[in-house]
């Protein structure tokens, strides 16, 4: 398998570090080249890292509830930076409170995310999605 590069990190003022460390471990084990920006990542940092590393996907985590505020405009900024069409995933606890997932998904898709994942999504699920979207491998 050719090594695809992805950028991961936890957006905004969010410091939830555990899931991020596990995703780094799991994505690397799964054969991706992972650029891990850790926690408290700004939109600009994701974009810079993606350009620098020639990444094909940005995997945004948001756990602390401000995901909706933090993610606004990321797609537009990517476009402006020349990252048109780059794969954008978001997952974690991306909104405040327990909300029906369909509504949440709709709102984040409208913001330009290609895939949106609910609370507690297993790394395997994300890996399968990445393999499908980046390598065309359907499970």
């Amino acid at each position: 398998m050719e090594k695809k590069t992805i950028v991961i990190g936890v957006i905004g003022a969010d410091v939830h570090a555990v899931g991020n460390q596990i995703l780094y471990y799991a994505f690397s084990e799964a054969g991706f080249n992972v650029v891990n920006l850790g926690v408290m990542v700004s939109q600009e940092e994701y974009i810079e890292a993606a350009i620098e590393s020639n990444a094909e996907a940005i995997v945004v985590s948001s756990l602390y509830g401000h995901g909706e505020l933090d993610c606004q405009g990321l797609r537009e900024k990517c476009d402006e930076a020349g990252l048109e069409g780059i794969l954008l995933y978001v997952g974690g606890n991306i909104v405040v409170g327990k909300q029906p997932f369909e509504d949440v998904e709709k709102r984040f898709k409208a913001m330009g995310f290609d895939r949106v994942f609910g609370p507690g999504t297993a790394p395997e699920t994300t890996i399968d999605a990445l393999k499908e979207d980046l390598l065309g491998i359907k499970k």
């Binding site: 471990y25 405040v96 327990k98 609370p119």
Partner: protein, 484 residues
């Protein structure tokens, strides 16, 4: 920045105060002498220290939720609900993440969005933005004492606002609200800023207003070995005591093994007394708090109740002075008030059912207490050594050296060389002690314990165990066993 564990110089403190109050426009609402008089007017049964003191005497465990929303009226309703429907003994005001980073502009935006959407777009109550007036509305609307709970590296303005706003307890500390809550903030900076908070608390104390301070015990909430969090708690207690704080609650996040958890609370009580005495502090009141499981929760609400209730049982059997309560929504998001009250009622049921019982003090328990005592002592002694006797300086150096090391912390001022994992009985042990300054007998003990587990599971002792342990509770277990 120069740091020592010395009582703030008054002049310096008041000079710094002026700067602090200018960092957001609500700062001008804080008038210290008016605030002292305001606090003096708060009825004694509405004060944290009184209620905790009574609980210590009666060997009762009080229950306290976490809760905070963006707008004052919403927040008042929430607290009233938790008090009436949840039977909370102590109330919280959880602060939003922007305020925690002093991003008051972002918080203001969040307040506006919340008003627009009619529901909270912030994950907590932006106390600074609402100012002293907003805070007083909150603390006056309820019958119980209210505490500010947050995770703010620089909480000086928040503390000023909170105390003037009628809160009688303030959570946090220079280590515990930095290492788990920040990425780039030097420890020397946060310790200094929290000395300010403690000094402010001490100032009120000198005016006859006792305010409670509570270091944040659970740190990252994820497989933190008791000796690590206890050492941090004791250091913050020493730092606070030096600034004149007299009412301190030390915390511990449930790890999951009954004996280890009860031992951790016992050891925390014993060692903190010992160190406070050793450094000559007097006239303080120490209480303890157990946090129900702080790591990843199961998504299913019934299973979440299982986790909540087991945490309650441990708090009761350990005779913690209070317990911080999770909710059945924990894995999903900020809870509704109903879910929050349900967590409280389940907790209260278990706590009061077990009010008359304790874990018998037998040799297994005593052995575990002794282990935690020795580990904590070795960490603290090396820390003092590194600081040439000064605990503040020592702490900064200890973190640099990995002598104190918090697992899974986001801060780059944390070494991250130590790695914990559960043993065969579910107690948290060291898979890799990193640079923690343990003697050989302790190191051998932990190695033996993990080898036992590895053998029982037929696999090597490595990071996969840790990964499995992190997921375990959310998947219904304590020890992350290998998949079959």
């Amino acid at each position: 920045m120069e740091l020592t564990n010395k009582r703030y110089n008054d002049e310096e403190f008041f000079r710094e105060r002026e700067e602090v109050l200018k960092t957001w426009h609500t700062g001008h609402e804080v008038d210290l002498s008016e605030a002292v008089e305001y606090q003096r007017g708060i009825k004694t049964e509405k004060r944290f220290c009184t209620k905790l003191g009574k609980a210590i005497k009666e060997k009762k465990t009080l229950v306290q939720p976490r809760a905070g929303v963006a707008l004052v009226d919403m927040h008042v309703k929430l607290l009233q609900y938790l008090e009436n429907e949840g039977e909370a003994d102590l109330l919280p005001t959880t602060i939003d993440s922007y305020t925690r980073l002093n991003r008051y502009e972002d918080a203001e935006h969040g307040i506006k969005e919340s008003k627009k959407h009619g529901n909270s777009m912030l994950n907590g109550f932006p106390a600074v933005n609402h100012g002293v007036k907003g805070c007083r509305i909150v603390t006056e609307s309820v019958k119980s004492p209210v505490q500010v709970r947050h995770g703010t590296p620089d909480a000086r303005l928040l503390a000023e606002t909170a105390y003037a706003g009628g809160f009688t307890s303030f959570e946090g500390g220079g280590i515990s609200y930095n290492i788990p809550y920040a990425k780039n903030v030097p420890l020397v900076e946060t310790i200094k800023k929290w000395q300010y908070v403690d000094r402010l608390t001490g100032y009120y104390e000198e005016q006859g207003i006792s305010l409670n301070r509570e270091p944040f015990g659970p740190l990252t909430g994820t497989l933190v070995p008791p000796c690590v969090s206890n050492a941090v708690g004791i250091i913050e207690a020493l730092l606070a005591a030096e600034q004149g704080v007299k009412d301190i609650t030390l915390g511990y996040g449930q790890c999951g093994n009954l004996v280890q958890d009860v031992a951790a609370i016992e050891s925390l009580r014993y060692m903190s007394e010992k160190y406070l005495k050793r450094f000559g502090y007097e006239g303080y009141i120490l209480s303890t708090v157990l946090h129900q499981w702080m790591g990843g929760f199961p998504q299913d609400e019934a299973q979440a109740f299982g986790v909540i209730c087991w945490g309650s049982a441990v708090a009761a059997l350990a005779k913690a002075t209070k317990v911080i309560v999770k909710t059945p929504h924990e894995a999903m998001g900020v809870p509704t008030k109903e879910a929050n009250a349900a967590g409280l009622r389940a907790t209260k049921q278990v706590i009061t059912m077990l009010a008359d019982q304790a874990l018998p003090q037998d040799s297994v328990l005593l052995g575990e207490i002794d282990l935690i005592n020795r580990e904590t002592e070795q960490i603290l002694e090396r820390t003092l050594e590194l600081g040439d006797g000064d605990i503040a300086i020592g702490t900064v150096r200890a973190f640099e050296a990995g002598v104190i090391d918090v697992p899974f912390a986001p801060s780059r001022f944390n070494a991250g060389k130590m790695m914990p994992a559960r043993d065969h009985d579910g107690a948290v042990r060291f898979l890799n002690v990193g640079n923690l300054p343990f003697d050989d007998s302790i190191k051998t003990f932990h190695k033996k314990k993990l080898d036992e587990r590895g053998k029982a599971e037929g696999r090597g002792v490595n990071f996969q165990m840790v990964v499995d342990d992190i997921y375990a509770i959310s998947k219904g277990r304590l020890v992350g066993r290998p998949h079959k």
